[in-house]
């Protein structure tokens, strides 16, 4: 019993000491987030108004860039990349429901767009 207890205490100590992000990595991730935001601004203020990119394509690009930003925030700032795979799966797989909900509601919206009187 006492052996188990010391084991547990040891594990806790090991966790307390476990590595965080280095300062260099933090500023690197900040640079990436800033760069992605700048790209979004270039698309919004130059590419689309200038006719270099259609709004339709732009929307897809925006969403992909947003998902990249979300990945960097969750993986590095929220440290999820360094957690155990069990926790990673637990907090990410559930978003399948949200994906389903997005598809469902956008199809519903599209249907209303075609079938409702113009208001």
């Amino acid at each position: 019993m006492s052996e188990l207890h010391t084991d547990h205490a040891h594990a806790e100590h090991a966790h307390g000491a476990h590595e965080g992000l280095s300062k260099k990595k933090i500023w690197q991730v900040f640079g990436i987030l800033l760069a992605i935001t700048v790209i979004e601004f270039i698309i919004a203020l130059w590419a689309i108004p200038g006719g270099h990119m259609s709004q339709h394509i732009g929307n897809y690009v925006y969403i992909i860039l947003t998902l990249f930003k979300a990945f960097y925030i969750v993986a590095y700032f929220m440290h999820l990349k360094y957690e155990k795979i069990g926790l990673q799966l637990c907090v990410s797989v559930v978003f399948i429901f949200i994906l389903y909900f997005i598809v469902l509601m956008l199809i519903e919206g599209g249907y209303l767009h075609l079938h409702m009187p113009l208001v």
């Binding site: 188990l4 084991d7 547990h8 594990a11 090991a14 966790h15 307390g16 590595e19 965080g20 992000l21 280095s22 300062k23 933090i26 500023w27 900040f30 987030l33 800033l34 935001t37 979004e40 601004f41 698309i43 919004a44 203020l45 732009g58 929307n59 925006y62 969403i63 860039l65 947003t66 930003k69 979300a70 925030i73 969750v74 590095y76 700032f77 929220m78 440290h79 957690e83 155990k84 069990g86 926790l87 637990c90 907090v91 559930v94 978003f95 429901f97 949200i98 909900f101 997005i102 509601m105 956008l106 519903e108 919206g109 599209g110 249907y111 209303l112 767009h113 409702m116 113009l118 208001v119």
Partner: protein
């Protein structure tokens, strides 16, 4: 005795019992699950926004609605003000992660300063949001309220729809309001953690795990803003 030690030998994988399989502290796991549920709330709000937008044949153009920098210029600068707000929030996320990093080294002084920087960032964001809301209120927007028809003509690129404008207005104030409320409570929690740090509570505890937990919440608020920014201001 020998059978017991054999059993002990079997228990080595994370899920075979005797220790925490994720080796994450209880409070941190609970914070993660709270954030997942909160993400669901924000997702449902944004999904509703999307379905409304898909169902309407016209929608206010964000580049025309958001083109002023409150207090400086009244038009002609789309996205500039919200760009400043986004930068402030990302910057405060960085200072938060630096506070967490200082906590790992148990450097009380550094944690205090990075927490102070994070709180200032949060307050600046809230100030910007207040300025933007005030500006939109003056234009005639509000919950259940839209500007008169002659103003609306300048906010749509194509045809004008009062129903679309109303949905836009309601959803804008509800979603950014809900996000702003999260920023506000985040600032309050950060202030509490700052006071505890100054009091030396975490120094006595021997770890700064609480800073990590509020850090998770603060990054989540930043994460939500990334999505709000995309779907309200860009798309």
């Amino acid at each position: 005795m020998s059978s017991l030690s054999q059993l002990d030998q079997v228990k080595t994988t994370p899920w075979s019992g005797g220790r925490s399989p994720w080796s994450v502290e209880y409070g941190k796991i609970m914070m993660w699950f709270f954030l997942v549920s909160d993400a669901f709330t924000f997702s449902s709000l944004l999904v509703y926004y999307g379905s409304q937008r898909f169902s309407k044949f016209t929608w206010p153009d964000p580049d025309l609605v958001f083109q002023s920098v409150p207090g400086l210029v009244d038009g002609g600068y789309p996205l500039v003000f919200v760009g400043i707000m986004t930068f402030i929030l990302i910057m405060s996320s960085v200072t938060m992660v630096l506070a967490v990093e200082a906590g790992h080294r148990r450097s009380k002084r550094e944690v205090i300063w990075w927490m102070v920087a994070t709180i200032i960032g949060g307050l600046m964001f809230l100030g910007c949001q207040a300025a933007e809301w005030t500006h939109l209120f003056h234009e005639g927007f509000g919950w259940g309220k839209i500007p008169p028809m002659e103003t609306l003509h300048h906010l749509f690129t194509g045809e004008v729809s009062t129903v679309s404008a109303l949905q836009f207005s309601n959803l804008f104030f509800t979603i950014t309001g809900f996000h702003g409320f999260h920023v506000f409570s985040g600032v309050i929690i950060n202030i509490i953690i700052l006071c505890m740090t100054i009091n030396g509570t975490f120094e006595k505890r021997g770890h700064y795990l609480m800073v990590e937990k509020v850090g998770l919440y603060w990054h989540f608020v930043d994460l939500v803003w990334v999505f709000v920014f995309t779907f309200f201001y860009l798309v």
